[in-house]
Symmetry: C2
Subunit: 361 residues, 2 copies
Amino acid sequence: MSEKFYAVIMAGGKGERFWPLSSSKTPKQVLPLISDRPMIAMTVDYIKDLIPPERILIITNASLVDVTKEAVPELPTENVIGEPVGRDTAAACALGAALVKARCPDGAFCILTADHAISDLEIFRKTINEGLAYALENDVLMTIGIKPTFPSTGFGYIEAGEKKEHNGTVEFRKAMRFVEKPDNLTAKEYLDAGNFLWNSGMFMWSVQALQKAFESFQPEIADMAKQIEAVAWTKEFSSVLREEYSKLGKISIDYAVMEKADNIVVAEGGFSWSDIGTWPSLAEHYEADANGNVVVGSGEHLESTDNIVVSKDRLTALIGVNNLVVVQSEHATLICPKDKAQDIKAMVQQLHARGIYENLL
Amino acid sequence: MSEKFYAVIMAGGKGERFWPLSSSKTPKQVLPLISDRPMIAMTVDYIKDLIPPERILIITNASLVDVTKEAVPELPTENVIGEPVGRDTAAACALGAALVKARCPDGAFCILTADHAISDLEIFRKTINEGLAYALENDVLMTIGIKPTFPSTGFGYIEAGEKKEHNGTVEFRKAMRFVEKPDNLTAKEYLDAGNFLWNSGMFMWSVQALQKAFESFQPEIADMAKQIEAVAWTKEFSSVLREEYSKLGKISIDYAVMEKADNIVVAEGGFSWSDIGTWPSLAEHYEADANGNVVVGSGEHLESTDNIVVSKDRLTALIGVNNLVVVQSEHATLICPKDKAQDIKAMVQQLHARGIYENLL
């Protein structure tokens, strides 16, 4: 364990696909979706035996800073950083680099998100530990790829090339290319090929290597990071951040840096990983009954199969329905087929447009 | 309008098919299902311009007397009668006859139920008025048949025979036979034949003619009625009723009397009538939106058609679902396809069996 290692958790989204449980007051990361701990607290739990809370930063939306602090009281409150506006992941990574560099100029950090369910935590921490060490010793940007277990069309992929020798047990390979979410056929080809990994959205790098990459490919972001570094952890930080962010466009770290740089190394994550992006992905973390129904809370069913019911404060009774998602919050109920769970975002937009449901959103 | 005319409303069921809105504390008849008035109050409204509240009796289950009284404060409280146990409709009709006879020995009464939605009320009251007058003048038992509008398999039918002359405009015919709920093919034959009417479960008769019929076909019930008549409207009534009812078996008025007697006359109900037996039958009384969705309360939908949403105290949001019934009560949510709405009764049984939901039932 090195004192040069930091973790930056990106927790900016509202998680609208988890409406009606998620809302502006209760964003996804503060919800106890897959255990009785908020998602953001679980993420801190995953890493804190390797990187202690003092060196864990959370970057979220400014409006979510207070609820996020409440969800992870073990973190120093100043470690929860609010972005005045969302500028996608490239800006957030650069912001994280500036904040870490101001504390530890020769430090390294991993990027985690609050959306992931991870088990096999020993392997997870070993991956981060070896990755950060390798990133510090070599002039590379590391990403974590997950060995696909099925031909998912919901993730981007990384094509892995030649193996990198290093002093450790985690497999590191040169990343040949990043590819967008594939269609069904292509996803099957990737699975068969064997050297394609899911792009987990987790990264490891030294602050210096990342800074150099931004200077090469995104000079405006590099400039922003320099301005931020100068005022990091001071009273001027917020106003400079607001000023600098207002100049930036939105761009993802994959598109801004990872797809352009030629010094990308992918670490094969040998731990169990899943992205908690929709209600069906969450349901996989609960045991289904003999009829395939997952019930979180109070549910009864008759001639009903393969449903997901989240109903903590009331009874949900199903008769003769299949493959539905039913989610109950205090004041609203959502019902949709599992394969429409992506459309919950559109429903939230519709409710915003109605103008009378703001207290539920 | 004759002072000899009474109305007896049978309102004994719990209406389990309307769970979760209906419950032991809020049985169907006290729910404002198709307007902002409880079903039982609407029934009183239908008839009260012809028969005033003082001559309207309600027979319900003893456990439902208090909520029923609250739902129809315009009725003298003694006019709401509680049966200690349910003994089906024959016993209830005999009980009604005994109570009416004790007040008016040469009276007549109609049997109504709290399950019906009736419009064209002028025609309805004319049917009752002419029917009661005819029943008083002739030694007949009258029933009301409804001209079928579709080949329903959900109602029993009455085959109508020769026309009866009388001083009025409602068509009276000899009832040839009563038939049980038919299958699809038979229902279509009945519709084509033209002389089959839906058995509405509404009756009109003089207390004397009904008494005579019970004496002929159901001497035990006739005996019960005599005992009741002797103590009607006195303090002894309840204990005698309990004693007498305990001796009886369950039998319907159709089976006990109507299918056996040869002096049955059917009045053709020219008013608009529907039986509110399930959520889909109720939805016909609300306007559907362009997508066929009926929303009572607060509902939003996306790519969803032909659903019924009853959601007065919370928001129900539907995405990509069709032909569902969704009903919200304070503490429970029911979801089932329209064509499974009959099975709500089985769900209520299942919930009783669980033993932990009694406060919701």
